[in-house]
Amino acid sequence: MNTELCTRIEGAARNMRRNMLEMTLHAGPNGAHIGGSLSSADIVAALYCGILDREGRGDHFVLSKGHCAMVQYAALCEIGAISKEELMTFEDNGGMFPAHQVMNDAIGIELSSGSLGLGLGFGIGLALADKKKGTKARTFVLLGNGECNEGSVWEAVMQAPKLKLDNLTAIVDSNHLQLDGGPEQIVPQANIAESFRSFGWEAVEINGHDIGAIYEALSERKEDGRPRMVVADTVKGKGVSFMENQVKYHHAGLTQAQYEQAVEELSHD
């Protein structure tokens, strides 16, 4: 990837993180799923600012880990699909941007989400439809590592290779935490990439905060009939020292002082 694009994506990720902190502050005592949104920010920034071609090819983005809707909202703001004013109505009573996203084709939210474990199947449906129609569209599905506890994820994992969906790319934002703690205490996920591979996926493992690596993993499309799984090693709460690897920031609010400290840290990033 060229330096200009890399800079653009890095800038977008920084803006998105800053906006997500502001959204969390805006949400007040309701709090926000800030930890997993920060871990996804580089991946989603790369998708929206370097990979997705929604208008031309008709690409799809399925945010299966719907509790991190705020990262999609921030990306939509970054590409101008919604305004900053609209973004800052996050979690407002009766607003368009609740904690879990609601399908809204006008601004490019393709599904209502929040119930974990279903987005990969939905993505299979979209990718299969594109295959049948003979389009060049690609479908990207973002999953969480905790989400992979859901059996329905594996129903979809087993199905996609049969359908030769090389237009389907799934990404696991593997931030090593879930609501109650680490996977080693809940459902161990060692060698998850190997698990996907064993079902016929092409699985690659990357650093989920390395823009170049993300871009390379997502931009490459082999037409070999295999769906692609990108296991992205990430840090929950990435970019804010007091949030990093802290399970309590899976869902939390921010005081004004915490917000200011977090924004200050990001500006030095």
Partner: protein, 325 residues
């Protein structure tokens, strides 16, 4: 359009509603190139054994993975396909209930979920395979249309109507091979509209699925006892035909609902909800499967055991009528 001929009606009754469903969908698929049919390893059981061969581009067997089937169906529907997704009733409705709610109801996507062999038609298979609550569950989902045909002919009419319908729907198929037809010739079927299949004066029986035919049989006995019954086939359980209910409650002394479904949450409950709003005077009797897991047995034995065969229906209706005082 499927031809409702004597030969076809006789054939369908011989093969059951679920096999009729697959047979006619196979034929109709030629007219609907945007139709996709998804099954969870039940193609043959749903009469779709040759569908994949006849329509390879319109068929997907997802395996025994009902939740994923509905998620894939939603993705296809989002991309403009009309989807039918098929499994045995308890799995099509309960196993993936939350997917129906979130991916079909919430997003209002154009998928018809077909629950085959509902009620107690799985007989000796036992309670795991009965559809006891598959009117109750989909009925709670906003945007969902819930359809429960009386016989094989009405199954054909419902499939034709649902192919033209936009939005999520649950099609509940009851009965076994050999069930007698209620409808022997073509008629005007519409989603959301009950059909009056018998005219009477004393009791209004509002029935759905197999209970429409059983009610017809029951009225022969009731007629001899001097009780005159109207029967409505409430083939769409959501939305209810409130006009028919208005007539049932306002022009009869007793309203009876009959369904091969739990007495909790199904047609009887839907009618009781109507009654709570609109008519407190006329008595309502709810007949259905009891709130319990019964012993398994052959279908006819099951209906008899649960008080849903014609003679039991007649006795229960007569008793309720006599108790009006």
């Amino acid at each position: 359009m499927i031809n409702i001929s004597n030969e076809n009606v006789a054939l369908w009754s011989r093969i059951s509603s679920r096999k009729t469903f697959g047979l006619v969908l196979d034929e109709l698929a030629y007219e609907y190139p945007d139709l996709m049919v998804l099954v969870a390893d039940v193609a043959d059981s749903a009469g779709l054994g040759e569908f994949g061969e006849h329509h390879p581009e319109q068929f997907l067997n997802v395996g025994i993975a009902e939740q994923n089937m509905i998620a894939i169906a939603a993705g296809l529907a989002k991309s403009g396909y009309k989807v039918f997704a098929v499994s045995f009733a308890p799995f099509a409705s309960m196993r993936c209930f939350e997917v129906l709610r979130t991916y079909l109801g919430y997003m209002n996507l154009d998928v018809t979920v077909v629950g085959i062999a509902s009620g107690v038609s799985m007989g000796t298979a036992g309670n795991t395979h009965y559809g006891l609550e598959d009117l109750a569950l989909p009925r709670t989902i906003p945007n969902m249309t819930v359809v429960s045909p009386a016989d094989c002919t009405e199954t054909v009419k419902a499939v034709e109507a649902l192919l033209e319908h936009k939005g999520p729907a649950y099609l509940r198929l009851t009965g076994v091979n050999g069930n007698q037809p209620v409808y022997k010739e073509d008629y005007d079927f519409r989603l959301g509209r009950a059909a009056k299949v018998r005219e009477g004066t004393d009791v209004a029986i509002v029935a759905t699925g197999t209970m429409v035919y059983e009610s017809l049989r029951a009225t022969r006995k009731l007629q001899k006892e001097g009780i005159s019954c109207t029967i409505w086939d409430m083939s769409t359980v959501k939305p209810l035909d409130e006009k028919a209910l208005e007539e049932a409650f306002d022009s009869h002394k007793l309203v009876v609902t009959a369904e091969e479904h739990s007495v909790i949450g199904g047609l009887g409950a839907a009618v009781a909800e109507y009654k709570a709003w609109h008519n407190q005077k006329t008595r309502l009797e709810i007949i259905g499967l009891p709130d319990s897991f019964g012993k398994a047995g052959a279908y006819a034995w099951m209906l008899d055991q649960q008080g849903l065969s014609a003679r039991h229906l007649a006795d229960r209706i007569a008793e309720a009528y006599q108790n009006l005082g």
